[in-house]
Symmetry: C2
Subunit: 321 residues, 2 copies
């Protein structure tokens, strides 16, 4: 079974970590390259290459967990005026882009050095930024400014038209199922759908949306699962076939802390059978701030995606219809 999964750096990498353990699944991740903050933003600006951060996270997710090269790719410098917070993996991808003369070839090179299970592709080779129009009418340019503004996004766009990467289109056409998310709605999922040719390429494929666990302050505050679906379908210009929603209870103490940060579980009231409710949460302790956080369990999430994909492929081929 061939799955193409769309997203950004964090949520998508959780899904990939789970999917790589299923030998009957071949996965290709198609990833946004619109980031302009942090180490990626500095590399984008100073070295003139596409922001490698989201790509890097997904490559590491598909690598052997304990390999030294994966540790090198995941390393972030902690000292030094010049290097603090810089990602070594980002610098390696940037250097390979200069050596190979192409960003996709750099990704292919590092993927082969890491012997990853699957493929990671940029959605476009073009350097574009995100532009958001907020409910208050303000127009904000750049992913990092958009998330900083902490407002209600009305519409998201690219700074200029961007052609989709041809190999991404090839992978979509050979796929059995398209998975969207998990990931930030307006800065990880939707940006992929703004690239020329992507909505058309996925139109006739079975499509699964993985609903986020919690709302993101300043991006999806107050939005239900149904609101997420509506937004994605709007940019997709076609229908989502199935939505995977977490049904597992989250501990009150954890919810209370999230609420302080203006974040709540993404709720779904609909009884439509296209919403698949599955227990698939784990609570992790964040290494940086020591706080308990809600995450998808990679294995349970991947298992759900696999099962639902099999049903959808069966439906399409008429076996279950």
């Amino acid at each position: 079974m061939k799955i193409v999964a769309f997203g950004g750096g964090t949520g998508l990498s959780t899904l990939l970590k789970g999917l790589k353990d299923f030998p009957d699944i071949e996965v290709t991740a198609i990833v946004t390259v619109m980031d302009d903050g942090g180490s990626s933003g500095i590399i984008r600006e100073e070295l003139g290459v596409l922001p490698p951060g989201d790509i890097r996270n997904n490559i590491i997710a598909l690598a052997e967990d304990e390999s030294l090269m994966a540790q090198i790719m995941a390393y972030r410098f902690k000292d030094g005026e010049r290097f603090k917070d810089q990602s070594l993996g980002n610098l390696i991808i940037a250097a390979l882009t200069k050596i190979n003369g192409s960003f996709p070839m750099a990704i292919e090179s590092i993927s082969s050095i890491l012997a990853i299970k699957g493929r990671v592709l940029p959605v476009t080779e073009e350097s574009v930024k995100l532009i958001a129009r907020f409910e208050d009418g303000q127009i904000v340019v750049g992913e990092s400014n958009i998330t900083k503004k902490n407002g209600k996004i009305k519409e998201i766009n690219l700074s200029s038209q961007a052609k989709s990467f041809s190999k991404a289109i090839d992978e979509i056409s050979m796929s059995d199922v398209i998975v969207l998310g998990p990931g930030s709605l307006f800065t990880s999922i939707v940006p992929n759908l703004l690239v020329d040719g992507i909505p058309e390429a996925v139109k006739d494929k079975p499509k699964i949306l993985i609903a986020n666990l919690m709302t993101q302050p300043g991006e999806t505050t107050g939005m239900s699962v149904e609101d997420h679906v509506k937004t994605v379908e709007n940019y997709l210009k076609s229908k989502i076939d199935r939505v995977i929603i977490n049904s597992q209870k989250i501990p009150q103490a954890v919810l209370k802390r999230y609420k302080k940060e203006n974040s709540e579980p993404v709720m779904c009231k609909s009884e439509d059978p296209k919403f698949s409710r599955i227990d698939m949460v784990k609570i992790i302790v964040d290494k940086m701030d020591g706080q308990e956080k809600v995450r998808h369990d990679p294995h349970l999430l991947a298992q759900a995606v696999r099962q639902i994909s099999m049903v959808l492929i069966g439906d399409k081929s008429g076996i279950h219809s």
Copy 2:
């Protein structure tokens, strides 16, 4: 045949490039870690790890020439305020030092990733600097300041006593032959001999010195091969058994350019049979400044080292005596 070769980053790596092609030679490079300039100096200061530059050059020399990982290790950034002139290989060794908690383990890790033919070891694990006393009486601290001063060095020392790295001593004790150079006399060869225990460890081993091709302005101006030998033996506290000298003529045009920079061929007048004269020069065009430069031919140099080593081992074992 087991060879232990001492030096710094540039000259020694030329020898290693040649030696790695002889399957009957097992080579260990023992390398200075006293550099404090360039990318190594910045990493030393900002990240608090030993300067990795000389080690890196020798690791790359022992790697498969065309491998992508070797290209990554050799890459130097050309753009960006923050990254320009930084060596990616140095950053990888620094990161591995933080990941592994030890500089020698970092070197071992990257050596195994690159599957190098041979070993590269730091002469010490301690962070020390060079101190030079010049003929004019001035005391200068730090390798980069010493070469900048452009004076006549009377004596060189370490900023504090440094214990030799135990694995380097093990390798010396198992070796058949010790090779010194090629490399900067006072900043690549001698610093190794200032480390506690090194002169004693190499005392009873057959020792070959590879004479430099040209004098180094501000380090060995006016010095003959015999002067080089005397200096090395002074710090070594034992005798050099053989000296390999280039006998090949260098084109006049190239010599003329070197002379402008106050550099001349290192001359040898002695007829003592311990001086082996061998044709082993190649002229390269420097990628940075486009000028023709004199270099040892790695293969011819390694061949000479191999032949002379066999004679010396034979002498020691009594076969040729």
